[in-house]
Amino acid sequence: MKINDFTVRIGGQAGDGSLATGELLSRYLRRDGYYVATDKDFPSRIRGGHTSYAIRGSEKKIYSIHDKIDALLAFDDDSLKLHLEELDSGGALIYDSSKTRITLDRNDIKIIGLPFTLKAKTELGIEIIKNTMALGILTKLFNLDPGLMKETINDTYKKRGEKILNDNLKAYEIGLELSKEETGLQNYSVNRLKRDDNKLLMMGNEAIALGAMAAGCRFISAYPITPASDVLEFLSKYLPGEGGVAIQAESEISAVNMAIGASYAGIRSMVATSGPGFDLKTEAIGLASMIEQPLVVLDAMRAGPSTGMPTKTEQSDLNHAVYGGHGDKPKVVLIPGNVEESFYMTFEAFNIADEFQGPVIILTDELISWNKQVVDKFRLDSLKLSRGKLILKIDSKDREFRRYEITDDGISGRTIPGVLNGLHLETGDEHDEFGHITEKIDIRNKMMEKRYRKIEKIKGMLFPSEILGEGENVIVGVGSTMGPVIEAMEMLKKDGIEMKFIRIRTLLPFLEDSIGQIDSARNVFVVENNISGQLENILKIYTKRKDFIPIRKYDGRSFRPGNIYNKVKEVL
């Protein structure tokens, strides 16, 4: 029996509103005190093609949907074809009886046909509103609070004008009316949770934008690309109010070079991109490392290679983040596991970039980038900003400033244009302490070593591996696989199998904090959303073991807990 924990999937054609309904449901759930995790699936085109949105609500904090769904709201035949199998026994299939006729041989589910489209057209004259109507039956099935739902609809649509708001409210009422005869799902004992405004509903891109704003980032230059565009979009709205700049550049190359310029001028700056754009930024990221300019780079990973499947997820840019770019140059690569962590990591990324003076790359994947989760309001008081060795006043009257002074920790004082007596040259050529171009052997060696010392120095600031659970069987993973792994671990626990989950959060410099545990484990499963085992290959550099058991997925879809559970069960 599931208690206050259920997954609903809403499916239809792209552009026909299923996503909006999913949004409403998610917002309702947050208001009712639920944690929410979502998973969108839609094609890389603007209209048409199958779209679906899965929303899970739960009392406990979650980062993944279930394998099985408890209700399937199917607005087209594709939804049925693709998702019926997912529907748990005891669950409900809701279909639009004005569009589809169904004959099914499953009698373990509730089948509910309601004439959404017909009603929407006849009563309101707007077909798309059928989506909101369908919230009525969900209210009934999961015993949701109609008052709170109306409030949610109200708050969501009031900005869009009286008519739209009223149509939606009316549609919901009609939906409730249509569902009157139906009974709730047996499997659920849905208590309304406590109304709770200490939680927020947001996607990873928004959490990152907020993290950046909180950290005082006042400059973003980016070029639109799925699934990273939201970051530029969000900051375009809010940075100007803070005296900042959000600018859509003519290309990713221009974007990253602009951001380097802004950083050089003393303003915290970032770029946000995905695979193809990340490739294009490679040369400039190397420049930032060489001239020692702080820079935060978001790469929201999508399914590659090349254009690949732009609206699908993958974890296949680990290699490029860690190893990309010619020459040897220090950089930092972080990878958060959920929306909430994306906020904190982004905030810290700016501190890290300022402290070690170089590029910090944040890797997310689509599951985090643009799927909403409910997060706890951020612990803003705990956040401390540090700008490292930024120097804004110089007493010495030397004609030139030692911008690249050789120091014990490798980190030099950094000044910015406008500072009296801080004058120096920054250059991507090898240089001496003042930034003069040089090719002298001893200076070259010292500078290379200095730059690499910085990385040692900041290891303490970076994110250690997170260890969950106990046991001699270990799962290693990064990023969004966290959600499904945690679910799988619970499933395994029920079977008596205890697992330990090691989630690596800093990929570069690799913190060897969990290597001992990996080496001494009985079995080590490596879960990753790619075909070639990029994470596994990184682990192999540091571990003694070679016998990792891969759990990989590269179809562009996120893991389900069952993918992991099954593989583990096969072996153990």
Partner: protein, 285 residues
């Protein structure tokens, strides 16, 4: 034209390593003179360059400097100017930097109209990489990568910038650093994007476009009204004889002025930037 006597010494930095006779010496001199005339504060000035012989100029000019990567100086400069509009931002570099790998940035910089002057040191050749054809080399030009002569029409940089929306276009000659000084002074003073295309002979690799060649193929613009857009197109369309001077000038709002922000954040107040984001929470309820 009367030569103004100015003391350029305060702008001296390292000694140039350019080949003796290189046009870039003339550009450096003119830039120093212009800086002296304008009394540029070295601590509030940034000279941004790409990669090339010409792009080494900020090793030799006393101001803040950033020597970036090939073709990207324009973008870095825009980032600097947007971040701190109080800085005097000047870009300098080669024809390859500006009109080959950097074309895209030049075009978009021109349409944005930031208050930045861009000095192109155009020697119609790739100097630092040892004499390959450049986008401004003339058709038929023989170089190590065009042993049978270039088969491409050259890029007309100033014309391109004009078409892209630049609000100041000028052409100068490194062989006449005194006139060039005036052009650079005007370019820096211009509120908005200023493209200053300077013929700057490469004495080592380009044996065609020499000082003499330029003297023969250029003329000084007289009585030209830089406000006349049509005339500007006409002058720039001439591919035989090149007019020197200010070809086009029009005041328009700058990028910095057009940005939606009220006042730029102050980079000298680095810890005040941390911000409570609670007022934005509304979006997520």
């Amino acid at each position: 034209m009367v030569e103004i006597k100015v003391d350029t010494k305060i702008y001296d930095k390292e000694n140039p390593t350019w080949c003796p006779g290189c046009g870039d010496y003339g550009v450096l001199l003119a830039l120093k003179r212009a800086a002296a005339i304008l009394k540029l504060d070295p601590f509030k000035t940034v000279l941004v360059t790409g990669i090339g012989c010409s792009s080494k100029i900020n090793s030799y000019f006393y101001s803040y400097g950033i020597h970036t990567i090939h073709g990207r100086a324009a973008s870095v400069a825009q980032g600097i100017k947007l971040a701190n509009p109080d800085l005097e931002v000047i870009v300098a570099g080669g024809d390859g930097d500006a009109f080959a790998i950097g074309t895209e940035h030049l075009v978009h910089m021109a349409r944005r109209n930031p208050d930045i002057a861009y000095i192109v040191m155009d020697n119609q050749i790739y100097g630092l990489t040892k004499g390959q054809v450049s986008p401004t080399s003339e058709e038929g030009f023989v170089s190590i990568t065009t042993p049978y002569g270039s088969f491409e029409k050259p890029v007309n940089g100033p014309l391109l910038a004009l078409a892209a929306g630049a609000t100041f276009i000028a052409r100068g000659f490194a062989g006449d650093p005194i006139s060039l000084t005036d052009i650079i002074v005007e370019g820096i003073k211009h509120r908005g994007f200023a493209l200053i295309d300077v013929f700057s002979p490469c004495v080592t690799w380009n044996k065609i476009n020499t000082y003499d060649w330029y003297k023969q193929h250029t003329y000084r613009l007289e009585n030209h009204d830089p406000g006349d857009l049509k005339k500007a197109y006409e002058i720039l369309s001439d591919e035989e004889r090149f007019g020197l001077g200010i070809i086009y000038r029009k005041e328009k709002h700058t990028l910095e002025e057009k940005l939606p922000r009220k006042k730029a954040v102050n980079p000298f107040d680095p810890l005040q930037i941390q911000k409570s984001i609670t007022e934005l929470y509304e979006e997520f309820l």
